[in-house]
């Protein structure tokens, strides 16, 4: 009995130490975003400084040149991530539905072909992709950021697996009622697969929100930069102080934290999906 209590305390100790290691940098970001450089660089770091330097946030938003490009880049990130998400959800669910519920010649081949693209890492094809997008005239445009990322094999596979168990009766009933095949997808399948769609939507939105490499290749104009590009530029500018840099980082993180706290289930199920892929 005593040994068990001892073990319990031991386990709690480890779990808490690890949680501290994980949470300290996030706390650091939020506290430092309200401090002057002098306080941030003080030894030891003053966790509760009592300082509320909101002008750090103002500086982050205004930018060192006073042109408010950060606001623009937040809007760009929202726009690009949302459009990619809408497109991905529609296209992946349509393809997944076609593969799950229709029998046609070459279906297995198409599925295998799509799955095989999972083996092609984006980093290995980014240079040819960059040249293709340039040839299509989509350099330095939102379309260039969105179009090549509109579909992904994992999303299609996920939707297909989900729709395999979709009740055929619902589909057949709609067909007898004279609904067109596309109508069935639009009015029956899509509204009835919201859990899978939500998970896919969050995965897609996050990966676009987070994307650095592709915008780095495609975007040159300052007014078209997304948040990661802006933060890199802001962080390396001479007049940026540490507090303003953390304020910029905090601003970029707050929308994601809000999403995370309201939709925790779908965030975690994105990870769990992977573990469930046992078949």
């Amino acid at each position: 009995m005593r040994q068990s209590v001892f073990l319990d305390i031991f386990i709690w100790f480890f779990l808490i130490v690890f949680a501290v290691f994980i949470l300290v940098p996030i706390l650091f970001m939020f506290t430092a975003s309200l401090m002057s450089s002098k306080n941030i660089m003080r030894i030891p770091y003053p966790w509760i400084s009592g300082e509320f330097r909101w002008q750090n946030y103002w500086q982050a938003i205004k930018g060192n040149d006073g042109k408010f490009f950060y606001l623009k880049s937040i809007w760009n990130s929202f726009l690009v991530a949302s459009l990619t998400t809408i497109g991905t959800v529609l296209l992946c669910s349509l393809t997944g539905y076609g593969l799950a519920k229709y029998r046609f010649k070459g279906r297995t081949f198409v599925l295998l072909m799509i799955l095989s693209t999972m083996m092609i890492p984006f980093e290995a094809i980014m240079i040819p992709l960059y040249l293709i997008v340039t040839n299509m005239g989509m350099q330095d445009t939102y379309a260039g950021l969105i179009v090549p990322l509109l579909m992904n094999a994992f999303g299609i596979f996920m939707m297909r697996q989900y729709l395999l168990t979709f009740p055929d009766e619902l589909i057949d009933a709609a067909r007898i009622d004279g609904t067109s095949e596309f109508g069935i997808y639009w009015k029956i399948v899509l509204p009835n697969s919201l859990p899978a769609i939500a998970t896919l939507a969050i995965l897609t939105f996050r990966s676009q929100w987070d994307n650095l490499l592709w915008p780095l290749l495609i975007i040159q104009s300052p007014e078209k930069k997304t948040i990661p590009l802006y933060i890199i530029q802001f962080a390396t500018e001479k007049y940026t102080n540490e507090g303003a840099m953390m304020a910029a980082a905090a601003i970029a993180s707050i929308p994601m934290f809000i999403l995370f706290f309201t939709l925790t289930k779908y965030f975690l199920s994105g990870a769990e999906l992977f573990a469930a892929r046992k078949d």
Partner: protein
């Protein structure tokens, strides 16, 4: 009369099947076109271009050079340096990542309270974007930052600068810590899901047979989540091989590039800064082959490792 009725119905069904087949094809058509343009063609193009001397924004026609790009890379010191940097980073990150996420998932599941809270706390860095993560740690690794304060506290020293961003090995360790910190929670969640799917009755049976918690973990949990463990290992390995943001921001922030010049960063710089598209393509092909061999392993594992309870 009955037959006359049946006959058109049979035809009807057949045309329905045919109609459905056509629609199935139409529904998958966008995907086929998309992947042809944005996955297969670029990959084939990378292979093709790797045999040419081609420069970005140059009007000169690409010149066929056979295997010269590959031979150049094999003799190039900087290429081997980036292979080394990638290997150190990938192994240095993935081993602790798998071990820690596995153990912390097991520890979380022994708790009756705060399970959800701990999972959310561990997962939270994965919510941040990687540039933000790198920016935070850039300040933590500052000579006057938290990391030096922590080590000085730990070793009971005063004011020693451990040169996180300038010493070769410390810089490598720094990028590993950033990546580990960001993704360890993500993999912990995967393990939690894997472990939670083991039926309780198996654990109960073991307890009745007199197994303690340690034996239960070692002889029941661990063998049963083997597929998850193997998949997490391969997946985290592939992710580590594709790392870019942390290294990019650290270099932009003033850290020396050589110790952390991972292969993705090297491809980017070769193509965009040096404008050597042919050479960058050869590096892309090599990266593809390395990752492909790991993906192949992943498929083999998921095919052979089936566990039924």
């Amino acid at each position: 009369m009955g037959q006359a009725h049946l006959f058109p119905k049979v035809i009807d069904l057949r045309t329905l099947e045919r109609k459905k087949a056509i629609w199935g094809f139409i529904f998958t058509m966008p995907a086929i076109i998309f992947f042809a343009i944005f996955s297969f063609y670029p990959m084939a193009n990378a292979f093709w271009t790797s045999f040419f001397r081609k420069e970005l924004l140059s009007l000169k026609a690409p010149r066929f050079v056979g295997l010269n790009n590959y031979l150049y890379l094999l003799r190039s010191e900087s290429f081997w340096n980036s292979i080394k940097a990638t290997a150190i980073f990938a192994f240095g990150t993935f081993v602790p990542m798998v071990l820690f996420s596995l153990s912390f998932a097991a520890l979380i599941l022994t708790r009756k309270r705060f399970q959800k809270f701990l999972q959310m706390a561990y997962y939270s860095p994965a919510v941040l974007s990687s540039v933000v993560a790198a920016a935070i740690w850039l300040l933590i690794f500052d000579p006057r930052g938290l990391s030096n304060q922590f080590l000085n506290f730990l070793f009971n020293t005063k004011g020693i600068d451990y040169r996180w961003l300038s010493n070769e090995n410390m810089l490598r360790l720094a990028t590993i810590i950033v990546y580990f910190w960001k993704y360890v929670g993500y993999f912990t969640i995967i393990f939690v899901a894997g472990m939670a799917s083991i039926p309780k009755s198996i654990h109960e049976a073991a307890t009745i047979d007199g197994a303690n918690r340690w034996q239960d973990f070692w002889h029941i949990t661990l063998p049963l989540i083997r597929p998850t463990t193997l998949l997490v290992s391969v997946m985290s390995m592939i992710q580590c091989l594709r790392t870019f943001s942390t290294q990019y921001l650290f270099v932009q922030g003033g850290a020396p590039i050589k110790p952390i010049d991972v292969i993705t960063l090297s491809i980017y710089n070769t193509a965009i800064r040096d404008r050597q598209i042919g050479r960058a393509s050869a590096m892309s092909v090599i990266l593809f082959l390395i990752i492909m061999s790991f993906s192949y392993l992943q498929i083999r594992i998921s095919k052979t490792e089936n566990i039924t309870y």
